[in-house]
């Protein structure tokens, strides 16, 4: 007799068979609706159903649900089943609730009541049922109701093993989403000692629980390290008969070993001398055992054994302190690279990626290069080939870059579509990183475009242009190569873009050769023109106008193109505008002006490759660099003019006209970045002078329009004395960058600010609200405390007179030298109607303005979070919410605070985790923030961890005022 088959339920069997025999989806739905109606009437009917019937109906509902139909009734019946004293009825009730009832259901109170009863039951099977239900739903309400019961159950000496096991995992489940409710530190010692439990099942569950606790609070649980090591050592040295049933296909307790090895990866290598010997011994034993001849031919035996081996290797890589073990690990993984089991090849490639990042084993990994390349070519499984690509990327260095890049390029021609884009990025990065000779780099990127043009993203071709522009030794070569590449009958549009850009800049370098004379270059490019998208055509038009400057002899032909109806009457306004403006420019201006306007692009500032940034974004785990600081995406250009890596879709040449503002519609996004370097006039607008003369809106309204602030700041009375620093509006600016910082019945001061890394540029607007003139207007910045060493502020001159009803502006440049807590004070004085006036206002330059959001995945975040655990680095605050706790609003505030909000990192979706980098002149400081809102209590818990002490405190203080 099979263990569970027993007597089936015939009604259920018949129903399921009916469904299976349905010929069409419609028939199936009809049958299901019939059954739902039947069950509904049965549940509603007066006749009381017996346990068997209830069970049968619930099973039917479960089956219907599995097929993807909504079940909107039966919940109450299921809850009633929970309080039955019959096990079978209780069991089916719990099953229904676990599968179908969500944590927010209004029935939850009744369910929790039943659970509380069952947890106290004497029969352990009942207790386990209740715990399973809690683990399945795990709502906050449940966690609150059971906050003490479950930990007690876990550590109590009376609890039997199976219940202990379940309560450990049940607690883990609740901690994942409601960790704030539990104060696990007080249980730490007793929980850790579960690692010594007799029952292996209990130890396995406890290890899972402890690993979760360690991730949150490594310090309180660090006592688990010696216990875990000794437990592990007992397991690996035991023979397969010692652990009886916990031996799986001759491998002693493989799951537990894996979990213990994972747990140890949360801590640095142990300091204790005895542990320092014991742990490597364990690891060595595992490596040795993996080499022994198999005790069984079954795949399960090798799987279990290797599961432990791979985890041990992960730990060896994590500790990264034992060259011996690292090289051994590499050798053993090398054997798997040619193993007949695909799974092992896959995992070996994956682990080797990590080994390649360790300085001890990098060379050892490189010895397997040939094998990995052949894996790339011969593997049948795309997921394995993907791992081979990752490994080649990881093992690449200056010595083998040329070969690896060549192999990857060759493979790219036949590569799976799903991995092409990533491969293109990787090839581009390697080519740049290890280029000794930039002609090789140019060749490689052009090959990339030729082989996989569709997968070459903008970042890649922007980058090649940046490099060519910055390095005059390759410019001639690049021009020659693109010219040749363009001669192919069919070439990719990206090639036309690169070709157009480079020839427009450096076409003159190859014009001496009659085969690539100016006219030939122009005709070659123009032959591609009609096949290109409007964006590329725009770029080509810019190339043409640059040609006019480079090669005046072909001006008539080019002007002909501009003049043609295809251009000047083009439906695309951008093309039309360019054609008309370029035509005018070349017709009206003198050659001198033309030469200035169309001058060669200036060199781009050096910075992180935007391709690398893109790869990180696409695949955060793919880029692992030793001690790498979280870097930021280049979101805006710092250089004047649109740089090729502009995130906005501005054609690179569009900013030719940076000196000619009226015609630079496409270059508008670049204008803001110009400001930062002070290269062009600021974007600030001044109030139209006729607004008042016309008896129009009062001056303050005009000012407010500029700032787009719908709620005017209430004018403060005039008696704000010179000695008092006005900070009324200060807090409003912590999360925003423009608005009114001071206002009384004489004067309104507005501010607009922009920040780039450690630099700030602020425009101050002084509006005279009276009808009389302010004379001797003077402003000054003062630095309270030691602020002067931390923040430099330079005020540009301001006009000393402000006429009645008019506005004057002043530029203020600032640089953050090191982190600071106090804000500078701006004082201004003037004479109005013969009376001297003086005011002081706290300038809203706060340290968070110099943050730049960073992007990272969950693993990186928590690794960094853990590494910032010394007492000074952390600051935590718990406080009452001052504003409504709406998720979107909070998110906007965090973004306004210049924090990068990371989605999907915190296991609890209600919480926010953020990462940013504080840029100062002296250093970059990593800042991680976690915000846990508690809606019921209207409270927040805010935790900040920063790589520099005291910054956490400042960040918390500032952010608290905003929430």
């Amino acid at each position: 007799m099979p263990a569970v088959k027993g007597e089936g339920m015939r009604g259920l069997a018949v129903f399921i068979s009916d469904i299976r025999n349905c010929k069409s989806k419609e028939a199936e739905i009809k049958r299901i609706n019939k059954e739902l109606a039947n069950i509904r009437s049965k549940f509603k009917g007066d006749k009381t159903l017996d346990g068997y019937q209830k069970k049968k109906y619930v099973c039917k509902l479960l089956f219907i649900f599995l097929l993807g139909h909504d079940i909107d009734f039966g919940h109450m019946e299921a809850v009633n089943l929970l309080s039955s004293n019959k096990y079978t009825e209780k069991q089916i009730g719990y099953l229904f609730i676990s599968v179908l009832v969500s944590g927010t259901s209004e029935l939850m109170k009744l369910v929790i009541q039943a659970i509380k009863e069952d947890i106290k039951a004497r029969n352990p099977i009942f207790v386990c049922l209740a715990l399973q239900c809690v683990a399945n739903i795990g709502s906050r309400e449940m966690a609150e109701a059971l906050v003490t019961d479950i930990p007690k159950l876990l550590v109590s000496g009376d609890t039997i093993d199976s219940v202990k096991q379940s309560s450990a995992l049940c607690l883990l489940r609740l901690l994942r989403t409601n960790s704030d409710l539990f104060n696990m530190s007080e249980w730490a010692n007793r929980v850790i000692h579960l690692l010594n439990d007799q029952h292996m099942g209990v130890v396995t569950s406890a290890t899972s629980l402890i690993e979760n606790l360690v991730k949150k609070n490594a310090e309180d649980f660090k006592g688990c390290v010696p216990l875990a090591i000794s437990r592990l050592s007992r397991i690996v040295t035991s023979s397969y008969t010692d652990l009886q049933d916990y031996t799986y296909y001759f491998v002693p307790a493989p799951w537990l070993s894996v979990k213990l090895l994972r747990l140890l990866q949360n801590y640095p290598p142990p300091d204790d001398p005895s542990l320092r010997v014991r742990l490597p011994e364990c690891l060595e034993t595992i490596l040795n055992k993996a080499q022994e001849p198999p005790k069984s031919k079954k795949i399960q035996h090798s799987n279990a054994k290797n599961a432990v081996l791979f985890e041990a290797i992960s730990l060896i890589i994590h500790m990264d302190n034992d060259p011996n073990l690292l090289v051994r690990a590499c050798t053993q993984l090398g054997q798997f690279l040619q193993h007949r089991e695909t799974n092992l090849r896959y995992l070996a490639l994956e682990s080797m990626c990590l080994l390649a990042t360790s300085e001890f084993s990098h060379e050892a990994v490189k010895t397997h290069q040939e094998t990995v390349i052949s894996a790339l070519k011969t593997e049948r499984d795309v997921s394995v080939r993907q791992r081979a690509v990752d490994l080649l990327y990881a093992m690449c260095d200056r010595t083998n870059a040329q070969e690896i890049v060549a192999e990857m390029l060759a493979y790219l021609e036949t590569a799976d579509y799903s991995i092409r884009e990533e491969m293109v990025l990787k090839v581009a990065i390697l080519a740049e990183k290890y280029a000794v000779d930039y002609t090789w780099f140019v060749d490689t990127i052009l090959n990339l475009i030729r082989v996989a043009g569709d997968y070459v993203s903008e970042e890649v071709w922007y980058r090649v242009i940046q490099i060519v522009i910055n390095r005059d030794d390759v410019q001639g070569y690049a021009a020659k190569t693109v010219f040749e590449a363009l001669q192919a009958p069919a070439c990719h549009e990206n090639m036309v873009k690169v070709g157009g850009y480079i020839l427009g800049e450096f076409g003159n370098l190859i014009a001496g050769d009659p085969r690539s004379s100016p006219l030939v270059q122009f005709q070659l490019l123009h032959s591609k023109f009609h096949l290109c998208s409007p964006a590329t055509r725009g770029l080509l038009l810019s190339t043409y106008v640059k040609f006019i400057n480079l090669f005046p002899e072909i001006k008539p032909q080019i002007q002909e193109v501009f003049r043609s109806n295809n251009q000047v009457r083009n439906a695309d306004v951008e093309l039309q505008q360019r054609a008309i403006e370029y035509l005018q420019l070349t017709s009206v201006t003198s050659t001198d002006v033309l030469a200035t306007v169309l001058e060669e692009m200036p060199a781009f500032p050096e910075r992180e490759s935007s391709i690398l940034a893109k790869l990180k974004k696409k695949k955060p785990t793919a880029v692992k660099e030793e001690g790498e600081k979280p870097k930021t995406m280049p979101t805006a250009q710092v250089n004047s003019g649109a740089t090729p890596d502009a995130n906005v879709n501005v054609e690179p040449v569009a900013s030719l006209f940076q000196t000619d503002p009226p015609s630079q519609a496409p270059a508008a996004p670049a204008a803001t970045s110009d400001d930062l370097l002070g290269l062009s006039t600021p974007v600030a607008t001044s109030a139209p002078p006729n607004a008042l003369n016309n008896g129009g809106p009062p001056a303050s309204a005009v000012l407010l329009d500029i700032f787009g602030d719908p709620t005017p700041a209430p004018p403060t009375s005039n008696n704000v004395g010179a000695g008092v620093v006005d900070e009324e509006h200060f807090n409003k600016f912590i999360c925003k960058n423009s608005g009114v910082i001071f206002e009384n019945n004489l004067l309104q001061v507005g501010m607009k600010s922009e920040y780039r890394q450690n630099l700030a540029r602020v425009t101050l607007f002084y509006g005279n609200k009276t009808t009389t003139t302010f004379a001797a207007f003077l402003t000054e910045v003062s630095y309270p405390g030691d602020l002067k060493e931390r923040l430099s502020v330079q005020l540009k001159d301001v006009d000393p007179t402000i006429e009645g009803g008019s506005q004057k502006q002043q530029i203020l440049n600032s640089e953050c030298i090191s982190e600071f807590t106090i804000a500078p004070v701006l004082s201004f004085e003037f004479i109005n109607n013969g009376a001297p006036q003086a005011f002081r206002v706290k300038l809203p330059l706060t340290v968070n303005k110099f943050l730049t959001p960073a992007v990272m995945n969950s693993e990186d975040f928590f690794n960094r979070w853990k590494s910032l655990s010394s007492p000074g680095q952390e600051c935590q605050k718990i406080f009452k919410a001052q504003h409504p706790m709406d998720t979107e609003t909070i998110k906007l505030k965090l973004l306004g605070f210049c924090l990068g909000v990371l989605d999907g990192v915190d296991p609890n979706p209600v919480n926010f985790v953020c990462a940013s980098i504080l840029h100062t002149r002296n250093q970059q400081i990593g800042c991680l923030v976690r915000l846990e809102p508690n809606n019921q209590a209207q409270m927040y818990r805010l935790t900040a961890r920063c790589s520099k002490d005291s910054v956490s405190q400042t960040i918390c203080d500032l952010l608290e005022t905003q929430l």
């Binding site: 015939r10 993807g68 019959k86 079978t88 049940c170 799986y248 985890e311 695909t342 995992l347």
Partner: protein, 187 residues
């Protein structure tokens, strides 16, 4: 942690699904479809791991699966789990089902949804491995059955007697249903 355990047949019909992370119902169905789509197009002797679909977690999610005769058993896990460990867990799950049902086949999963869930509950809890020792799991399942039988003996007997009388022809009906010939799941 294990985010979900999905069982579906070669045609993508779900046979059991268990989510350890909350997803709305329609999302659950989409995940099953997406997973089937990813897994079913793979040859039988390629590796058992692949990156998860976009719906269930993208790069931080791996699908670890085994294909037995007509059924796919897929465990969706995050990066904190050992791939081979989970692969063995799939095996333990199926072997346990096989012991409980004696030569388990697709029909067993359909007709005994409840039992399958109970067995799984002994193996995994809240997305973590609860017990891996097959004899321990069997003991617990049998304990439950004993309880069930003792209760059935008292109360359900009359009801079943009645329904048996009412539907005398059932055995015949079963034979007429022409169920497809289902091979047992092989290891």
């Amino acid at each position: 942690m294990i985010k979900a355990i999905l069982v579906f047949n070669n045609h993508g019909k779900p046979r059991m699904s268990k989510f350890y992370q909350y997803y709305p119902e329609d999302m659950q169905q989409q995940i099953i479809r997406e997973t089937f789509h990813l897994v079913s197009k793979r040859d039988d002797n390629v590796c058992n791991f692949l990156e998860g679909g976009s719906l269930i977690g993208g790069t931080d999610c791996k699908l670890i699966y085994r294909h037995y005769a007509t059924l796919y058993f897929v465990f969706c896990v995050d990066s904190s789990e050992s791939e081979l460990g989970i692969l063995d867990l799939v095996q333990v799950f199926v072997e346990t089902l096989d012991k409980c049902f004696e030569n388990v086949c697709e029909l067993d999963l359909i007709f005994h949804v409840d039992k399958v869930h109970y067995i799984l509950a002994e193996l995994c809890m809240g997305g973590m491995v609860l017990e891996t020792n097959m004899s321990e799991i069997m003991t617990r399942v049998e304990e439950q059955n004993k309880l069930e039988k003792s209760e059935a003996g008292i109360s359900a007997a009359p009801a079943r007697a009645v329904s048996a009388v009412k539907e005398m022809n059932i055995p015949q009906k079963f034979k007429d249903m022409k169920l497809p010939d289902l091979p047992n799941l092989k290891f």
